[in-house]
């Protein structure tokens, strides 16, 4: 089987449309992020989270309203996979044991015939949350700097570095936007926590992988076809590597989708970020990274 054996798509011409699509997505993501604020999970915000498992299905709204008074404020209640497992998140500042007792005893009152057990608890203090947040931020900034420098060294051209890093920003921002905007209506948690940061960095690594393969081909073609027009050469390089880009995206998409479906409730948000990231990362290495290199390169040549 062969896909895209000798393709000759005009990616550069497609750049205009790509700019429009990317621009629209980025604006939407930014509006979401600025308007709603980042939807931090327990890792970065602090608080207490309990997952209760019941014998029989329960109602999310009933749990929320019955816990509002005892806890002092309405907790966040979500299904954790099935109708039997419920995630309860509260900012009640009391001792862990006390808060847990309030929850289990209230549940026993509301559902006297329906046994519940606590199968998971996460408690993060505000100070620890701050530390995790700054750690995550440092990780992302550090990763971008390292990548910029590595590409600069390997390709000896800052336009490549910038193109790659801009593409990464593009990918992460869009996924972040999706997570921020759809957090409330998603059937699973789409809050920004440590696992999501790990997913972001993986997206960064993956998307970069794609971009670097294209850049590598551009570098090779630059040596081989010295007289070719720069734009044309980039287009050729994109076409040369298209088959590989698509195949790798397909296999990676396979596994992250498998992870999303079978990986269990704990990994739902994480694997969903990866699914989105692979799709957007592939798109950006074809249409965004090289487009920026072309723009910058042309400007650089005009300037000199």
């Amino acid at each position: 089987m062969r896909w895209f054996e000798t393709p000759s798509f005009d990616f550069i011409k497609g750049h205009k449309i790509a700019y429009f699509i990317s621009g629209a997505l980025l604006v939407a993501a930014l509006i979401g992020i600025v308007g709603k604020g980042l939807q931090y999970g327990i890792d970065f915000r602090g608080g207490k989270e309990f997952v209760l498992q019941f014998d029989q299905p329960v109602e999310v709204t009933q749990i929320r309203s019955s816990l509002s008074d005892p806890l002092g404020s309405a907790p966040e209640v979500k299904k954790f996979g099935s109708d039997l497992e419920i995630l309860i998140r509260t900012d009640n500042p009391g001792e862990i044991s006390t808060v847990q007792n309030i929850i289990t005893s209230t549940m026993n009152e509301v559902y006297p015939e329906n046994e519940n057990i606590v199968i998971k608890t996460d408690v993060v203090g505000p100070r620890f949350a701050e530390d995790l947040k700054s750690g995550a931020l440092n990780a992302i900034i550090f990763a971008l700097i390292v990548i910029f420098i590595y590409i600069l060294i390997r390709f000896k051209n800052w336009t490549f570095s910038l193109g790659a890093v801009v593409a990464l920003f593009h990918d992460v921002l869009i996924v972040l936007g999706v997570f921020t905007i759809f957090n409330d209506i998603a059937p699973f948690s789409m809050q920004i926590d440590q696992a999501i940061i790990a997913a972001f960095l993986t997206i960064v690594g993956y998307s970069l992988n794609d971009t670097v393969v294209v850049f590598d081909r551009i570098r090779e073609n630059m040596i081989q076809y010295k007289t070719m027009d720069f734009t044309e050469m980039i287009n050729k390089s994109l076409n040369d590597t298209l088959s590989r880009t698509v195949i790798t995206s397909v296999t990676t998409l396979f596994v992250v989708t498998v992870l999303f479906i079978f990986g269990g409730e704990v990994l739902k948000g994480f694997s969903f970020a990866l699914v989105l990231g692979v799709l957007i990362g592939t798109y950006s290495s074809l249409f965004v990274a090289s487009a920026i290199v072309v723009e910058l390169q042309l400007r650089k040549e005009q300037a000199s």
């Binding site: 089987m1 062969r2 057990i117 996460d122 990780a139 390292v146 690594g205 990676t252």
Partner: protein, 608 residues
Amino acid sequence: MQGNGTKIVFIAVFLGISIFYLWPTAAFYLEQNYIEDLPQAERAQYMEENRGKMQELRQNSLSLGLDLQGGMHVTMEVGTPKLVRELAGEYADTTLVNVIQTAEERSLENGTDFIDELVQVFEQRDPDARLSRYFRSDTENITRRSTNEEIQAYLKKQRDSAVDRAMEVIRTRVDRYGVNEPSILKQGNSRIVVELPGVAQKERVRSLLKGTARLEFRLAADADELNASKEQIIGYFDRQAAASDTADTVQQQSGANALTQVLNPRGRSQYVFGYAASTDTARVNELISRPEVQRMMPRNTELMWGAAPFQELPEQGVELYELIGVRSQIEMTGDVIEEATVNFDQATNQPRVSMNMNSEGARRWSRITGANIGKPIAIVLDGYVYSYPNVETKISSGRSSITGLENVQEAEDLVNILLSGALPAPLEIIEERTVGATLGEDSIQAGFYSTVFGLFVVAIFMIVYYRSGGAIADLALMLNILFILGILAAFKATLTLPGIAGIVLTIGMAVDANVLIFDRIREEQRAGKTLRAAIDGGYSNAMSAIVDANVTTFFVGIILYSFGVGPIKGFAVTLMAGIVASLFSAIVITRVVVDYLTRDKSADLNFG
């Protein structure tokens, strides 16, 4: 074909190492299955006979993270501000207290070291002032003339040793409690991370970890003074209620006395300030901690709650706790306790902890009891009054006991805490994560299915798309997973759920190197090269792209590893192990197989 000898040796060595390190894991798993199938009668005997062997296998097995096997992960922080305050002791004045508070706020805000902030805040206040007026230590050579830098170093050293001692204490307590393979590690300069696999009784462990077991003997408050203050305080709340018909909080009905609403101002003895239901104690605390109320309290007197309810009304679901008046002055602390055991009160058959004091303690105990015959002495543990028995005679044996314990378990834990020594500084739980064993099992299953399905889908796709080449890549992929697990076992890494996700992800990305190579081979073939030449060209031309792409991803892995905590580290480890293993299998192993299959000039190999 030349040079493949070395490659084959390498492959064999890696394979051997992986199997060597994974062997205990497999053996342990098989043994466990075998034991489960044994009839009940033989099981115990078999386990007894093979205990040593099982333990050894278990220790060398690839360990599972707490998210997979269930358990408790706790991060605790040593309260440095409180430690500094205690080090200053009697020298502390309001300036120091203020400086400590500001420094604590700043270090919270900026995420900086508390002691550094302390010195900075102090010097900003008055550049000429010296911290040496607060601290003295003969052993550390801290005198009036010590510079601020010396004090800074001294405080840091004290903190370090407090953390080390706290770790020792926690280790003793955890060992006494009995946990399989606990892990207790220091993190940063003031944090301790405790991981307890398989722990189910979280509440018990929490109090065991945090329990400062600060045992104090205090005299009861003066009954007359206490009652006079009580009337004054109730009067104050009466006036408050009358003054504001509009209640100051939602909880308070207008026109009613805020205090007597939640606290019944009577008691079994004249030392009791009142009693309240367990659900109201927080409100009572809030009311009596108001500064104007505190001013009405008799001098040197504090109010403390009883540790156990003095009365239970089960039909109403109410437990009543007493608020007891005690002196602020501490007559004696628990550090004189030499021996502690659990036994039962003969009269009530309730569990109690009997304590034996050392000779100095016995001497003091004898003096205190002798001077207070007929009066109660409160036995206070971590701020709660456990009992306040009347002293009947002078006690010179150095014996005492703690009653009012809920059950034998609580008594046993108390003995554990008393004997393992007191924590040098208060510990605060700043992060706690627990995973139940069933959820862990579900996660293992989810991880296993994801790996199998992921592998299956990718393997089929590769064969469909690249034919024989795809089959070779699949072989490499299988070995790749073996290598990853081998690397994890060799480095004693822990397998977590995100770690499994890392493996699944690697499956998808590992074929990338082969995709690059095979695509390149097809390209070379299209350009008219012979099969052998195309293979050579394919491998060598794809190399730079493969290296670049993987080096960058590896960087991301390193960064994730250094900044992440817990399970995320697990993800980073498998991601990095995956890159190394997949590079090796995709480049070296497939090359050897491809070369072998095309060793005859006439041989044909289908790359789809």
